[in-house]
Symmetry: none
DNA sequence: GTGGTCTAGACCACA
DNA sequence: GTGGTCTAGACCACA
C-alpha cells in the first residue's frame, strides 16, 4: 500500500509534497512501472485534503511523464522515459540548486559541511533503492 | 555606500535576495553594528524595485534582530546576536536539502553529477566573496 | 491588446482553448518575447470564466516553457527554448496525429482530400506570421 | 464472426474505438445491412473491456442510425443512411484539424515534417485496409 | 494589483 | 467508481 503523509502547515504546498512523495516512491522502486496509485478521492480522504489538490498533483506528474492516467480506470506509474531535453533538465537542476544555496547561504555552513551533508544523503538515498 | 544587486527574473523572491545581501554584509563586516542602511525609498530606487519590497525585507530583518529601526531616524545594524539556534539552523538546512533532492530526483542525474555541480558552485561562491 | 474568445459549450475544455490561443499568438508573433499577458483576473472577466480556469491555462503554459510568471508582477511571454526531448516531441506529435486521424476516419475523406486540406491550412498559418 | 481490436492504453476512448471499427466494417461491407452484432457481454468479454463501455458504443451507434436495436433479439446493422451532411462532415473535419494544429504548434516541427508524417501515416492506414 | 494555493461542491466523461 | 473540468470564494505571498 502507498502510505504518505503531508504537512498542511508547512511552507511547501501540499500538492508539491504529494508530488515529492510519489517521485521518491517511484525512484526508490516502492512504486513499480504499471502500479496503480490510490484513487484521487481515496488519497484525498487519507491525507485529509480536498480531492482537487490530489488531482492537481497527479495531473502534473502525468505531464512530467511520471504517471499515466487511464480515464475511468485510474492512475498508474508510467514507463520511465526522458520527457525533457538535456538543456531543460540542466536548467531545472540549476534552478533548484540556486534556490537551495540561497536558502542556506545565511545559515553560515562551510562548503565542506554542505558537501558532507549532501554526500551522506545521497548515499542514503542510493542505498534505499 | 551600501551597494547590492538583485535579479528580478531570478527564482528567489526579491525581498529575500535583499535580506540575504544585508545578512551577508553584516556577517562579513561590510556593515558594522550601528551603521545606517539606505532608506527604503533610496534602496528601492537604486534596485529599481517596488518600495514595498524593500520595506518587507527591512521589516523581516528587524523581526529577526539583524536590523533595528529607530523611529524617525532610520534603520541601523543591530547589536549582533545569534538569531538561529544550532538546531534551528540544522532543521532549515535539512528542509532545504529535502526540497532540493525532491525536485531533482526525477531529472536522472547521478550522485556524482550532483556532487560535482554542487562543488563547482560552492567554489564559485566562495571565490566571489 | 490580446483579444481572444472561447466557446464554453464546446467539446474542448476552456483552459485548453485559452492555451491554444496563446500558443498561436506566440507562434504568429502577435505576442513577442517579454510581452505581458493580461492578468489572470482581467482575462477571466473578459472571457466570463472563473479566474482559476485562466490560472490553470497560464500555469500549464509556464510548465511548457511558453510563458514565464513573475510573482507579484504578472505573466510574460518566455524566451523560446526547447523544453522537451526529441523523443517526447515526436511522441506528442504522434499522439495528436492519432487522435486527429481517428476522429476523421469515419468521415470518409480520401487521403488526398485530407492532405490537401492540411497543406492549405499550413500555408495559411505560415503566411500569417 | 465480427473480429475487432481496441487499445486500452491508447489516446482514444475505448467506446469511440469500438464505434470507429463498427462504422468501418459497415462502410467496407464486412457488416451488411441486417447483420447481427455480438451481444454487449460477448463483445465486452472478447475485448476484455467493461460491458458498460460496449453498451455505450452501441447506444451511440443506434442514436447515429448506424445500428438498430431490436428489443429482446439483439443489435443489428441498420438500413444504410447518410448520417452526416456534407457541411457537418466539413465542420467536424475542420474542428479536428484545428485541435491537431493547436496541439503541435509549439512542438517546432516544420510544415514539411508535418506533411511527411501525415502522408506516411495515411499510406499505412490505407494499406491496412 | 498580481499570481498561487486550497476548499467545497457540482457535473461530466469513461469503464 | 474513476479521473477531469469548472465555479465561487477565500486567503496567502510578492511587488
Amino acid at each position: 500500500m502507498f502510505e504518505i503523509k503531508v504537512s498542511p502547515g508547512g511552507n511547501r504546498p501540499i500538492y508539491l509534497q504529494i508530488m515529492d512523495r510519489v517521485r521518491q516512491a517511484a525512484a526508490r522502486g516502492k512504486l513499480a512501472v504499471g502500479d496503480p496509485l490510490p484513487s484521487v478521492r481515496q488519497l484525498a480522504e487519507q491525507l485529509v485534503v480536498n480531492h482537487n489538490t490530489v488531482a492537481k498533483a497527479y495531473a502534473e506528474l502525468v505531464r512530467d511523464g511520471v504517471l499515466e492516467s487511464q480515464h475511468g480506470r485510474g492512475v498508474f506509474v508510467a514507463k520511465r522515459r526522458q520527457v525533457f531535453s538535456a538543456a531543460e533538465r540542466k536548467r531545472r537542476f540549476d534552478d533548484a540548486l540556486d534556490v537551495f544555496l540561497s536558502e542556506i547561504v545565511s545559515l553560515d555552513f562551510t562548503s565542506d559541511q554542505i558537501q558532507d551533508a549532501m554526500a551522506k544523503r545521497l548515499v542514503k538515498m542510493t542505498a534505499a533503492r
